[in-house]
Structure formats: structure tokens, C-alpha cells
């Protein structure tokens, strides 16, 4: 109709936004990080970690080297453990992941046949040393199954069910062998 009407309507919209931002939450959607955080979604992936069941010594990884071979930028280094006579054990002695190379693709989680490596939700991983601090060793990567169930409950439930199935199958097989 007349000229200034559009301008005035627009200004009323912003005034409403300004005034109501003091009262309603959806007009002020800022999250005051780091005091408040939004929890991440379950499928969020950032950096891999190794799983252990009860104690950090019985980790599920058997150092089969598949994840190191499939990793696209080749950031995983695995050295198989061996006992006193030199016979190889089903355990890694050295398991290094270089965070400055890792591109968080999740391929290592997808190809692991033993459900030993999964993607974590941690992203506040800034360090000062560029080469020495960003190279994570086996002890830094070990996290428990309870932690896994806390951050990714559905996947943990599925993996636990599968492992229970496998254990039950092995039980019946062993019993079948014995009898």
C-alpha cells in the first residue's frame, strides 16, 4: 500500500524477536558451551578406542592387523605380542593410532571381525605437542565395555547379544564335544 509499511512490519518482527528473547527459550537458542553441552547423537564418530571386557588385560583385540591394513591414511601401527619363547600371542604389544593422521572415517570399526575397536564420542582432544602428544598408545586407547554401553547403548546391546550368542554356541559345542 504505502511505502514505509513493509519497513514497519519488518521492524515489528525484529522487536518481537528482541523482546521475547528474554522470555522464551526458542528465541534464544544459544548453548553456553562449555558450561552447558548438548549430548552427542549415538552415531557420532570421532576417534577410535579399544574395548576391554572386565579388566584392561583381556581386551578383545587379537592384533589381526585387518584395521591397520584397511585404514585409508594408514594411521594404525600394530605389533603382535609374543611370550618368552618367541611364540606369537593373540594380543597386541604395540597399538598406536596417530590422531593427526586419523580422518575419523570409521572403517576400522566396520571391518574388525572381533568387535574390538569402536568410534568414540570424545572431541576435546587438543594437545600442545604436535607429534609426540597426538600419537595415542594402547593404554590411552583402552576403554571399558560399560563406557561403550553408556555412549552407544543400542550398539553395545547389539554387540553384547551377539557375543552372548557366540559364547552360548561355543558352550554347546564344547559340551557336544565332551559328550
Amino acid at each position: 500500500m504505502i511505502f514505509g509499511l513493509g519497513v514497519l512490519k519488518g521492524m515489528m518482527v525484529t522487536l518481537k524477536n528482541f523482546v521475547l528473547s528474554y522470555f522464551t527459550k526458542e528465541r534464544l537458542t544459544t548453548v553456553q558451551y562449555p558450561e552447558e553441552r548438548i549430548p552427542e547423537k549415538e552415531r557420532f564418530r570421532n576417534f577410535p578406542f579399544l574395548i576391554y571386557d572386565e579388566k584392561p588385560e583381556d581386551l578383545r583385540c587379537v592384533s589381526c592387523d585387518i584395521c591397520a591394513k584397511e585404514c585409508p591414511p594408514k594411521c594404525i601401527t600394530i605389533v603382535r605380542d609374543s611370550d618368552e619363547q618367541g611364540k606369537p600371542l593373540k594380543r597386541p604389544k604395540v597399538f598406536d593410532i596417530d590422531f593427526s593422521i586419523c580422518m575419523n572415517c570409521g572403517i576400522c570399526e566396520e571391518v574388525c571381525p572381533f568387535d574390538a575397536i569402536f568410534m568414540d564420542h570424545e572431541f576435546e582432544l587438543a594437545e600442545y605437542g604436535r607429534f609426540e602428544d597426538l600419537n595415542y598408545h594402547k593404554d590411552d586407547l583402552l576403554k571399558s565395555n560399560e563406557y561403550f554401553a553408556k555412549i552407544r547403548p543400542q550398539d553395545a546391546a547389539r554387540i553384547d547379544a551377539k557375543l552372548r550368542e557366540k559364547a552360548k554356541l561355543k558352550e554347546t559345542e564344547i559340551r557336544g564335544h565332551n559328550t
Partner: protein, 385 residues
Amino acid sequence: MENADQIFVILKRSLMTWAGVFLPDWSLVFLSILISIGAIAVFGPVTMMYLTLLERKLVGRIQNRYGPNRVGFWGLLQPIADGIKMLTKEDIIPEKADRFAHFLAPVVIVIPALLIFSVIPFGRGMVAVDLSIGLLFFLALSSTTTIWIFVAAWGSRNKFSLLGGMRAVAQMISYEIPMVLSVVPVLIVAGSFSTVAIVEAQSGLNWFVFTPWGIAGFLIFFLTGVAEVNRTPFDLPEGESEIVAGFHTEYSGMKFALFYMAEFMNTFSISAIVATVYLGGWQGPWLPSWVWFFAKTYALIFVMMWFRGTLPRLRVDQLMGFAWKFLLPLALVNLLIAGIWTEFKTPANNIVSSLILFAALVILYWANRPEIPKKRVYRYAYADE
């Protein structure tokens, strides 16, 4: 209430009597001027710093977010952090730039911005210098800002700066004319250039904005003031995403801080002058005078920042068209109806001037209607008909 109203005057007087005990008589004049100037020199830049914070928080709230609130409680130390950042930045001068012009422009552009503070009446009896040509002083100084923006643009030897500078000069000289013309009705009615006399002519609650010529004059003066300060929606010269940064592209560090400071001090002084001239300065019922003054000034500053949060930038031909084709005829008609209003007696003067103003507005709206092009008819595009 009398004491609260005159608290700054009483403060200054007590300071003078205390100093008069041990200082000779001839230096008391200097001391009085020094106190006023010192108050302005402290008040001006501090105001500018906190105006930047206010703008960021206000525009942030309009945009559904908090403004800066990390540095100090409520973000109150943010301007200090900004100041330190700007002081420690490297001062880069382009190689082929005109060093003299590049250096001089930000220095001289702050001078009018600070000088205008001396004629603003902050309250009853609280004006730094009661010039008999106060308003003319303000108009003259705000018109000198134009050259220095152009010197800044030219001295940077950068095509974008030059473009921004030329647009800035075109905009500022086009908007000066309605600005000066819209102040003239006030001069007719108040009878003097002095800002103190203008405020005292609007005693009690009959501010000039409540008259027919006052409303139009206030709107024209405010809009042209916003254009003179180069704020959105008229901030084509420094259009922050169009021509990099316009005339202050090549300035970094403290020089840019000086431009920024000049812009914000100009914002404050234009709001203060509009409040003085049209909204009745420090006049108002029972609150202290300086509270009224600051309330009015900050209300106008709020409207300027509200414009910034809402409106997109005007295109350069729309900008110039607005000034020459709409505001200038309206300012001339305003002058006419102000003369009529002073000559006739109430209530005839209000009715006649309102009618003339309304007729002028209708004619100007009709003359400035946007050209909507005819719907195009394509010859070959309708293949299946």
C-alpha cells in the same frame, strides 16, 4: 529533586571552590574549561566503546543469540579487549599508498566527532560551551567529515576503497541538504542558533515533535542523520560484504579503531542533537534533566541499532533517489508549513499545516512510486500452444 537535577553542576562548582583555595584567580578560568573538556574527553571515547558493546548485544538478541558475554560479566570488558587487540595489531600501509593522506585521514576524522560534544546540552546548565551558533557549528562540522572519508579512500590506492569513497561522498553531500533544511523550522520557531536556547524554547512538554512540522522535520532529520553517519541501511560506503570494507579497507589496527570510534561518536552526537532539537533536549516532568536527555538519546540510538538489525542495505540509486526526490521536497514543504504555523493562530495553524503536509506526502508518494515493469511476453517460448 533539585539537587539530583543539578548534581553535575554542583560537583563542578564544589571542585572549583576547592581548587580556588590554593590556585590563583587567573587559572580558575582554565580549570573550569579543563574540567568540562576533561569530562567530555573521558565521556566520549568511553561512550563509544560501550556503544559498540550495546550494539553487538542488541543485534545479537534480535538475531536469536547472546551478544558477547564471555569477557567479563555480561561482556562489560569486551570493549577493553577490543581496544587492546586493535592497539597491538600491525599497522599495514600498502606500498604504493599515499602515505600522507593515508595517515592524515583517520586522525582528522575524529576531530569533528569530538568537537560536536561541546555544544550538546546534557542537562539544565550542563553544556560545555554555550556558543551562539551552536547548531550551525554542528552542521558545519558534520559536513567536513565528507572530505576526510574521500581522502582516506584516495590515499589507500585501492579500487574498492575509491568506489566506497566516491559513494560515501555522493551520499553524504546529498543527505546534507535535507538535513540542513529540516533544522531551519526549528530555527524559525526558536529564534536562535544556540542549542541551549532551542531547548529552553521547548519548555515542559510542548516539544517540537508534537507539531505538524515537527513530526515531519524529526523524521527527515533523523533519517538524514542516520545517512550522515553511514549506518545501515545507508552504509553503502562501508558495505561490509559488498566492497570488502569500502573506504576503510586498507586500514588496520589503531587507524581502523579511529574510524570506528569516529562513527560511533557521530552516532551518539547525531542522536543527541536530534533529541535536543526536536525531542526537547533535557525537558521533561519530574525526572532530573540529564536522565531525560540520556533516555531520549539512547532511545534514538536503540532505534538506529534496531534499523541495523532489521533492514538490508539500500542500493546506491535508491539511496540517492530517496534523498533528492523525496526528502528534499518534503523538507522544503516542511519549511513552508513551519512558516504558516508560526503566522496563524491556534487551532487554525495546526489544521492548515497538517493538510498541506498530508497533501505533499500524497503527491510525493505518488511521484515516487516504484516502477513495476510490464509482464514480459515471449514470442517463441510457448512452444506447445
